[in-house]
């Protein structure tokens, strides 16, 4: 069978609906008698709820209901830990998950306390403003390190400290390796918080229809099936009575995989009132009520031989989980595992502590902690290269795992509880290619010339890996309808990744049809109700292979039935252009539409051992994730007057296994890089000492715009994964992962004469200014620092530093 569509830049099936404004998003759902909800949220980071009186607002014209934790009764219990920690020895984990509505205490700004239901959103918000709520302020634990101090205020009063978890994973013997090292590089790294910034905020429409005995919930979730299961369990309904629909979702990026209190409360309201009810989070609310990511502090060491060979890595880090830890340890474990990168690291000691603070909850955001690991490792390698006088590309090349070292077991556990084992990889070609594309060899001359003109340009080049496509499984049902339309239903939700197209491509090749004629349905539990969700860059890998398997099974049915009807051997048949026919006799066969009708006769019997229709359901579950990889390189310029940084060129050479649709993959990379650039230089959540967020709007929290994102040049290298029949690996998060590391290296390189080190991300213009001040240079003096002879040589640069 030829792969006509697989690998082709097929235009997206979903685009016409989206472009015409006809795609259904959650906020577009309109139902007769629809009510609207607004939440009353804490405006303090840590407080005791002294009193809450909803009686006055209940009398407010247009208000239909107002509810507190008390009203929720037995439903007001702490939710489950969604992802239990892997079975790591001696692991300590204190699960503290939020209540749907806070009862006695609030632990971060924005924690929900009450919900108002009204005939319009305007009325609901008026009433929410008028609620009589008295909060007694408590001292908050805000700063990550400070929260572990013995006298720190306790986020959870039943614990003896703010320690949420403590994990050690080890491979080999770092301390012995360290003794044998020629050089030990030690640094402290800090990575601060940001938001996912999906353009569509979260939203839920819940409708209990008593006549139908069915609860329908439209939800901006990345995991409709787990939400369905949770709602059925919560309300004592059969799973078949609950339909969760994740329609078009306006960006996910991780936080929409969380199961939030609102997802219990909205259905509960509808069950109670017998009317449909809608809640759409507003942007301000999203800065507190939607989960966030990224605050970590690492104390890390790299032990190296004089030739740059990595002997061992030591890392001891703190991870801020915010007020609760409902998503377990996925983020810090990703940091811990991804740090090893594409390198041969014989000895590794990694210890982390997860810390509760009075800040919004942390769960995975695109990259999901992998950025931190890459940042630490790449920065350590840069420092080692500098100290040892080795070229930064060369030190990476020397430490890469070779293609014959796969599968490679790193001997520690990954987020999916499986051994961190890389399935396949071929790292050096990506590095060579990226170096070529960015003109690495020619750059020092370019840099020298720029400095002569008083311009500060720098180059960064780093490597990364990403564990993608983890289990447990996904499924798909493929049907050839009597109209000839091929339908694919799968359980994963979709948030813009192009699933309607790539799944269609996978199926189209098996069934000999045009992918434009394949109708894909995702994220509706009535259509398909087995699966877990869209996360960990797994849609194309896990659901894609399930689609492939189901299409293969339908293909077999087509051949079996056609062979029976035409009385020829299956070997003599071919399937193409929507028609199965005898080879060399195209008139002797059936259109798929016709065959589908014959497979579902209105009279006569379906023979024992056969099934009606041309339909099959299949599942795919990989033993473990497949490891994607790549190299990012960029050239940027630092403006000495403003400390602003402009990226001039950006190159990505990546390997996500076999590519299903290069256009879509490139789009994923572009978006990831843009998010990474935001994280590296523009986006930071500023919490003050009282735990208040001072930049909770898009005016003050700076998502990058088209002006900040450079042209991104992308190339693919394809090292198939042996873990799935299609050979694919995930790519959804990859673009975002190494950007900060590359950016930091390039800024250092641009400012090499000053000898500054970038150890913190995001590096805003202010922070860069502060860094320059720390080395005793005011930014205005920078302009005078150029000149021949000072550029390009890191060792010289270090000597020259003031």
């Amino acid at each position: 069978m030829s792969a006509r569509w697989f690998g082709a830049p097929v235009p997206r099936n979903e685009d016409p609906r989206l472009l015409a404004g006809q795609a259904l998003f959650v906020d577009d759902v309109q139902l007769p008698g629809l009510l609207h909800a607004a939440f009353v949220r804490s405006d303090l980071a840590h407080a005791r709820i002294r009193s809450l009186d909803l009686s006055a607002v209940r009398a407010h014209p247009g208000v239909v209901g107002a509810y507190s934790a008390e009203d929720l009764g037995d439903l007001c219990i702490a939710g489950p830990v969604l992802v239990p920690p892997p079975p790591i020895e001696r692991l300590e984990f204190h699960a503290r998950t939020p209540l749907p509505l806070a009862r006695d205490r609030v632990r971060h700004v924005g924690e929900a306390i009450a919900v108002i239901v009204a005939e319009s959103r305007y009325i609901a918000e008026d009433a929410a403003e008028a609620v009589e709520l008295e909060l007694e302020p408590l001292e908050p634990a805000v700063e990550l390190e400070g929260a572990l101090a013995p006298d720190a205020p306790l986020v959870h009063e039943d614990l003896t400290s703010n320690l949420a978890a403590h994990v050690i994973q080890e491979k080999g013997d770092y301390h012995t390796a360290r003794e044998g090292a020629d050089r030990v590089i030690r640094r402290r790294f800090r990575y601060d918080r940001g938001v996912s910034g999906a353009l569509e905020n979260r939203g839920i429409v819940a409708w209990w229809d008593p006549h139908d005995g069915r609860l329908s919930v439209w939800d901006t979730t990345q995991a409709p099936i787990p939400v369905r299961n949770a709602l059925a369990a919560t309300f004592g309904l059969s799973e078949s009575q609950v339909r969760v629909i994740a329609p078009f979702i306006g960006g996910g990026f991780g936080p929409k995989i969380m199961f939030y209190g609102e997802e219990i409360i909205l259905p509960w309201i509808s069950l109670r009132l017998g009317r449909p009810v809608k809640w759409i989070e507003d942007r301000y609310e999203s800065f507190f009520a939607t989960t966030q990511e990224r605050e970590q502090i690492h104390d890390a060491e790299l032990a190296v031989a004089a030739d740059g060979t990595i002997l061992g890595v030591y890392d001891d880090f703190l991870h801020d989980t915010g007020a609760y830890d409902p998503y377990g340890l996925t983020v810090p474990i990703n940091s811990q595992c991804t740090l090893l990168g594409p390198y041969r690291v014989p000895n590794y000691y990694s210890e982390f502590k997860v810390v509760f603070t009075n800040k919004p909850i942390v769960t995975p955001v695109r990259g999901a902690g992998r950025q931190h690991g890459v940042f630490v490792m790449e920065r350590l390698l840069d420092a080692a290269a500098q100290e040892l006088g080795i070229d930064r590309v060369e030190i990476r090349r020397r430490n890469y795992l070779d293609p014959d070292e796969f599968p490679h077991d790193h001997e520690i556990l990954y987020q999916d509880s499986a051994h961190l084992t890389y399935d396949s990889g071929n790292y050096a070609p990506a590095l060579e290619r990226a170096a070529t594309l960015i003109d690495y060899e020619a750059f020092p001359a370019e840099q020298r010339k720029a400095r002569e003109d008083g311009r500060y340009v720098g180059l960064g080049i780093v490597s990364y890996v990403e564990g993608t496509g983890i289990g447990p499984y996904e499924g798909a049902r493929v049907t050839v309808e009597p109209s000839g339309t091929v339908c694919v239903a799968t359980g994963v939700g979709t948030q813009g990744q192009g699933h309607f197209t790539v799944f269609a491509q996978v199926v189209a090749d098996q069934l000999g049809v045009d992918p434009a004629h394949v109708r894909v349905v995702t994220g509706d539990t009535m259509e398909f109700h087995w699966g877990t969700g869209t996360f960990a860059s797994r849609g194309a890998v896990v659901a894609g292979n399930a689609c492939h398997a189901a299409a293969q099974a339908v293909r077999e049915k087509i051949f079996t039935l056609a062979s029976h009807l035409l009385e020829v051997s299956e070997d003599d048949l071919e399937l193409a252009d929507g028609r199965v026919a005898v080879k060399g006799a195209p008139d002797h066969g059936f259109d798929l539409a016709d065959l589908a009708a014959r497979a579902n006769p209105l009279r006569g019997a379906v023979r024992p051992g056969t099934e009606p229709g041309l339909e099959a359901t299949s599942y795919f579950g990989p033993d473990r994730g497949s490891t994607a990889s790549g190299v990012h390189a960029l050239i940027l310029e630092v403006d000495p007057e403003t400390a602003l940084v402009k990226i001039l060129r950006y190159v990505v050479v990546h390997d996500c296994g076999v590519v299903i649709n290069p256009t879509i993959v490139e789009g994923q990379i572009h978006g990831g890089v843009a998010l990474g650039i935001g994280n590296a230089f523009y986006e930071q959540l500023h919490f003050d000492e009282s735990g208040q967020l001072s930049n909770a709007s898009f005016m003050d929290y700076l998502l990058p715009t088209a002006s900040e994102i450079p042209p991104i040049q992308t190339e693919h290298i394809e090292t198939p994964s042996p873990l799935n029949p299609l050979g694919v690996k995930g790519v959804g998060e990859a673009g975002a992962i190494p950007v900060a590391a590359a950016f930091a290296q390039a800024v250092e390189n641009a400012l090499a004469p000053l000898g500054i080190e970038v150890l913190e991300i995001p590096l805003s213009p202010q922070r860069l200014f502060d860094l320059l001040e720390r080395v005793g240079v005011e930014s205005r003096e920078l302009g005078g620092l150029g000149g021949p002879g000072r550029a390009g040589d890191p060792a010289k640069a270090a000597e020259d530093a003031p």
Partner: protein, 157 residues
């Protein structure tokens, strides 16, 4: 709250409604008229998802009250396609993969349609400048810029 009668033409169709003075134009379009193609991303005029045309000019419908649109000619994304055929700018966005989740897209399309009317042969800088008024979290903008360039090129040929 007292209601005010307004009359607007949206995508060529006349609508007359009684609305609260505080009703946002974006909510009026989405909830009162059922034109849900216009999306709301921030409600403070930054993201641009709710952009539509008022008398031909792109505006952010979350920053206007419905009553301010009284007597005006409005155009939303639903009005771009004709007889089921996508507008050339819409087609260029599909061709260049200028959208992913598609949530910000309707606002960008409206801005670009008005922009290309004013400036049919834009420079790359002009394109970047006009697109920089919108936030998109999925695409990294590169293919949006390409879509605008492509739309201009195709219109010229």
């Amino acid at each position: 709250m007292s209601l005010i009668r307004i009359r607007v033409r949206v995508n060529g169709e006349e609508h007359e409604r009684e609305v609260e003075p505080r009703l946002l134009l974006s909510d009026f379009l989405r909830h009162d008229l059922g034109l849900t193609g216009t999306h709301v991303g921030c409600e403070h005029g930054v993201c641009g998802a709710c952009t539509m045309l008022v008398d031909g000019d792109p505006i952010r419908s979350c920053l206007l009250f419905a009553v301010q649109a009284d007597g005006r000619e409005l155009a939303t994304v639903e009005g771009l396609a004709e007889d089921g055929d996508l507008h050339p700018v819409q087609r260029a966005f599909q061709e260049a993969h200028g959208l992913q989740c598609g949530f910000c897209t309707p606002g960008i399309l409206m801005t670009v349609v008005a922009f290309l009317r004013e400036q049919p042969t834009p420079t790359p800088d002009q394109i970047r400048d006009v697109v920089s008024g919108h936030l998109c979290r999925c695409t990294g903008y590169q293919n949006i810029l390409e879509a605008v360039r492509l739309a201009a090129e195709q219109a010229a040929s």
